[in-house]
């Protein structure tokens, strides 16, 4: 009951569709922002939302150790619980925990074949089968096209979707259609692109791609104190 309530109350639904349905199976989603704006917090909310719907999330971090990633989840979960005045969170936390698997790699030690191997170890032994994958820290440089293409095949083969956290830089000008430079040559691979933009003390969620209505600022903000998504106004 508690889980259902939380899903129903979730502000993410306001993006346009149920979040677990975007991007679709085999699809890519990107969350772009400058350092420290809240990419990880945003993605962790997407992950927790999936977990609450009993969908498995594989969180891959190329920057942070597993413990730090785990702390993000605890923090965001605590904030969500506080926002909805849920007191006894132990059972709920235990319930969502089993739908999460954290995997970390050193940036230069990460490769798609390696991920494929790890994933096979998990699925073949019935340890964990993800519905959603988060990749945080993949460098979006000139060489990113090949791994992304390989990841697209992997996503399709495994029937999952992948969200990426992508860091933007202040000095970089966006390309055509406002798509940030990092996605310039690979944006065709992405079904959803969300930009987090700090503006007048608030963090706005700008859906650059993947929203049925015309692009522009959504009605959603990230609360800078809790990093939780909230309705505007």
């Amino acid at each position: 009951m508690l889980k259902k309530n939380l899903i129903l109350r979730n502000s993410l639904r306001l993006i346009g569709q149920r979040t677990e349905d975007i991007p679709p199976e085999g699809g890519f989603g990107a969350v772009l922002a400058r350092a420290g704006v809240g990419k990880t917090a945003f993605l962790v909310q997407l992950a927790l939302n999936s977990q609450l719907s009993n969908k498995n999330v594989l969180h891959i971090s190329l920057n942070d150790p597993a413990q730090k990633v785990s702390l993000w989840y605890e923090e965001v979960f605590r904030n969500i619980a506080a926002q909805y005045n849920i007191n006894k969170t132990n059972h709920l936390w235990e319930a969502v925990l089993k739908h999460r698997f954290i995997m970390t790699f050193k940036v230069d030690g990460f490769s798609v074949p390696k991920l494929e191997e790890r994933l096979a170890e998990l699925t073949e032994q019935n340890i964990f089968s993800p519905h959603m994958v988060i990749i945080d820290g993949l460098p979006f440089d000139n060489s990113v096209h090949t791994p992304l293409t390989d990841l697209k095949i992997l996503a399709k083969n495994h029937g999952l979707h992948i969200w990426f956290a992508i860091r933007t830089h202040r000095h970089e000008e966006p390309g055509t259609g406002g798509i940030p430079a990092q996605l310039e040559n690979v944006d065709d691979l992405f079904e959803v692109v969300i930009l987090l933009q700090p503006k007048e003390g608030e963090i706005h969620l700008k859906v650059l791609k993947g929203r049925s209505s015309s692009s522009g600022y959504s009605e959603l903000l990230l609360d800078p104190s809790s990093m939780l998504i909230k309705d505007k106004g």
């Binding site: 597993a66 235990e94 925990l97 970390t104 050193k106 030690g109 170890e121 032994q125």
Partner: protein, 694 residues
């Protein structure tokens, strides 16, 4: 004692079992004239190597407890800690690395980098201990030091650079070529004590030149002077040594030496390397925590005039009482002075101060900063910090891995009981990874440690040193019972069997709680239960928790609220209300959907990445929920939550799955409900046990 700190070396000798550490130490002591004869480590001549002084160790041929010893070489004072190589004794290795400034990593030229080498290397990295490598057993069939150097690079990620090359190998191993001095070195005399230096044999010269080039190339990265000298062709031995030393102290290079300890070859150059390439105590920054200042870190100095800071890193039960091995980090520890144990706050007077050479000792007056020595008659535990009165610093606590295995023990006869207690008390003081506890339910004494062999050794030591036989068994997992929903009770206890009757009625409800084990609340109003009987009710409810009705496990996480009842002016009594509360508990408990909880452990496995899949599979098979897999280059850290009941024997399983290359730690995480199938199994087992008792 020589107080010239620059000439002091505190070193450890670490390696895989059977790599030849003890033989190497024996040779070092022989060449430094600390011993007059060399004995075989396996004890064929009935004497055994000097470092393996414990009887048990002699039998096993491995060094179980590290013995500290000291020797002198070329005006340098070297304190050596011989460390065990078996995975079950890693605390010994960890401890020695904590107090050492440098280490010799011994490898077998045939076996190369073995499982324990990886563990030991990881430990050295954790404590940032600079090391040099010694590839031993070059006289053995299949010896290939360059393959081992390659393994050091590939498997351990070391920037391993050969400082020597062998003259011949296997049966033809006759000496070494020093690539710094570009000389051939031969070891002659009965025990290799005569070092003969010659020109490099013609046939080996091209290889020597090529390897020297490689050495200079690697070293020049760390020294501009060496680079310049190389360009001008003015390389000196000192320039190479200084560059290699700089890199080695930063742990950016591992200089590799070769030899055969058993054949008395290559030891003297290795000792030279210890003095030339490993750091002196003042080159290592040591920190302590200021207890008075919110444990802020304080950098210690080797200044002998500063207040004392010393760490008791090992205890041994000697002939004359407790022997405390101590490393002084700051100030001077002098005979007759008063020192403070920071943990206990007790002041103690230093009696006898000694320098240890295996099980023999030499009385000295002081232990200055940077030195290792031993004290007599000081009551303390391993890991205690001693300071001068007036300061309150504590050394960084040593990393103590959590015990992973437990065993129930009992003395075979009553006579042995006192000695078992004495032995256990001693062992827990000596070894922080060895723990004792009592199972409250069964009353059994439980010993816990780092592995089966670890505990086996202590059981064996009890037999040998304390002359007691103990029976060992499997400990039980500490299951708990609890309720999972609110339930009401209303129970009347009524008995009329002639004489005064018994009457009491207790009503209320019970509900699950998570914060505490048991909460009792009385909401009885209007004297429905007379006030004087309410404590009896509470006592009775509490008593019921000791053995749960479901499977006789203790009941936890329960709140009992009584809100009504009735009494009789004559027949009500403490006893009647106790009986009524017991009945009420049983009535409520049956309705409150009782469940069994089991301890869930947080298990962290550190394994080479190639075994990641099998390790995850093994945890999964044990009802484990894997939370994360962290890739750390060659190693991978897997974290999982696994029921304790499924963890017994895991150390053995893990070892066999990973060729002994993985290690794991385990700590209590939480109690969780046992799945239905397991609960049924437990019930079946409990019923069987009951039947057998009956």
């Amino acid at each position: 004692m020589n107080s010239k700190i620059l000439k002091v070396r505190n070193i450890g000798i670490s390696a895989h079992i059977d790599a030849g550490k003890t033989t190497l130490t024996e040779r070092i002591l022989y060449y430094t004239k600390r011993i007059r004869a060399i004995h075989d480590v396996k004890g064929k001549d009935g004497v055994g190597a000097t470092m393996d002084f414990m009887e048990l160790e002699k039998e096993r041929g491995i060094t179980i407890a590290s013995a500290a010893t000291y020797c002198k070489w070329r005006n340098h004072e070297i304190n050596i800690i011989d460390t065990p190589g078996h995975v079950d004794f890693t605390i010994e290795v960890e401890r020695s690395l904590r107090v050492l400034d440098g280490a010799i990593l011994v490898l077998c030229s045939v076996g190369g980098v073995q499982s324990q080498t990886i563990t030991v290397d990881h430990q050295m990295a954790r404590y940032k201990v600079p090391c040099i490598a010694f590839i031993n057993k070059c006289d053995r069939v299949g010896a290939d030091p360059f393959r081992v150097i390659k393994q050091l690079k590939n498997k351990l990620g070391h920037n391993a650079v050969a400082m020597q090359i062998p003259i011949g190998l296997e049966g033809n191993f006759s000496g070494i070529i020093d690539l710094v001095a570009m000389k051939a070195v031969y070891f002659e005399g009965d025990m290799g004590e005569d070092v003969r230096i010659e020109n490099i044999p013609e046939n080996l010269l091209p290889e020597a030149i090529q390897r020297r080039e490689e050495l200079i190339d690697s070293a020049s990265i760390f020294s501009d002077e060496l680079t310049e000298a190389a360009l001008e062709d003015k390389i000196t031995e000192d320039l190479i040594i200084s560059a290699v030393r700089k890199a080695a102290l930063l742990r950016k290079m591992t200089p590799v030496f070769i030899g055969s300890a058993y054949k008395n070859k290559g030891i003297q150059p290795l000792l030279n390397a210890v003095t030339k390439l490993l750091p002196c105590p003042s080159e290592i920054e040591n920190q302590a925590f200021d207890v008075d200042d919110d444990e802020s870190s304080v950098v210690l100095s080797n200044d002998l005039k500063k207040p004392l800071v010393a760490l008791a890193f090992k205890l041994e039960d000697g002939q004359y009482g407790q022997l405390t091995f101590i490393r002084v980090y700051q100030g001077t520890l002098a005979k007759g002075s008063s020192i403070l144990n920071v943990r206990t706050g007790k002041k103690v007077k230093v009696g006898r101060v000694t320098r240890i050479h295996a099980d023999q000792m030499e009385d000295i007056d002081i232990i200055p900063a940077g030195y290792i020595g031993a004290l007599f008659g000081i009551e303390c535990a391993s890991g205690d910090t001693f300071v001068s009165p007036g300061i309150n610093l504590t050394m960084t606590s040593m990393y103590v891995p959590n015990p992973v295995i437990s065993l129930a023990i009992a003395p075979k006869d009553n006579k042995s009981e006192a000695n078992v207690a004495k032995a256990l008390n001693r062992f827990t003081k000596e070894d922080p990874t060895f723990k004792i506890s009592t199972n409250q339910e069964t009353g059994e004494t439980i010993i816990s440690g780092m592995g089966e062999l670890h505990l086996e050794v202590y059981v064996e030591r009890m037999r040998r040193e304390y002359n007691v036989e103990v029976i060992t068994g499997m400990p039980r997992v500490a299951y708990r019972e609890t309720i999972s929903r609110r339930a009401e009770f209303n129970y009347t206890h009524k008995k009329q069997t002639g004489g005064a009757g018994q009457f009491g009625r207790v009503a209320g409800f019970m509900e699950p709680i998570t914060e505490e084990d048991f909460v009792f609340e009385s909401k009885v109003v209007g004297g429905a239960i007379p006030t004087q009987f309410i404590p009896s009710c509470e006592k009775s409810f509490k008593k019921c928790l000791e053995k749960g009705p479901l499977m006789e496990f203790p009941v936890v996480g329960i709140k009992v609220v009584i809100n009504d009842g009735s009494s009789h002016s004559v027949d009500s009594s403490d006893m009647a209300f106790k009986a009524a509360a017991r009945g009420a508990f049983l009535e409520g408990y049956a309705k409150a959907n009782p469940v069994i909880h089991e301890p869930i452990m947080r298990v962290v496995v550190e394994t080479p990445t190639e075994f990641q899949g099998v390790v995850m599979g093994s945890l999964n098979k044990r009802r484990g929920m894997i939370a994360s897999a962290q890739d750390e280059g060659r190693l991978c850290v897997i974290e999982a939550r696994v029921p304790l009941a499924d963890m017994f024997g895991y150390s053995t399983v893990l070892r066999s799955l990973t060729q002994g290359k993985a290690q794991f730690t385990m700590e209590f995480a939480a109690y969780k409900q046992v799945p239905q199938s397991i609960a049924e199994e437990l019930a079946k087992k409990a019923a069987e046990e009951k039947k057998s008792v009956a």
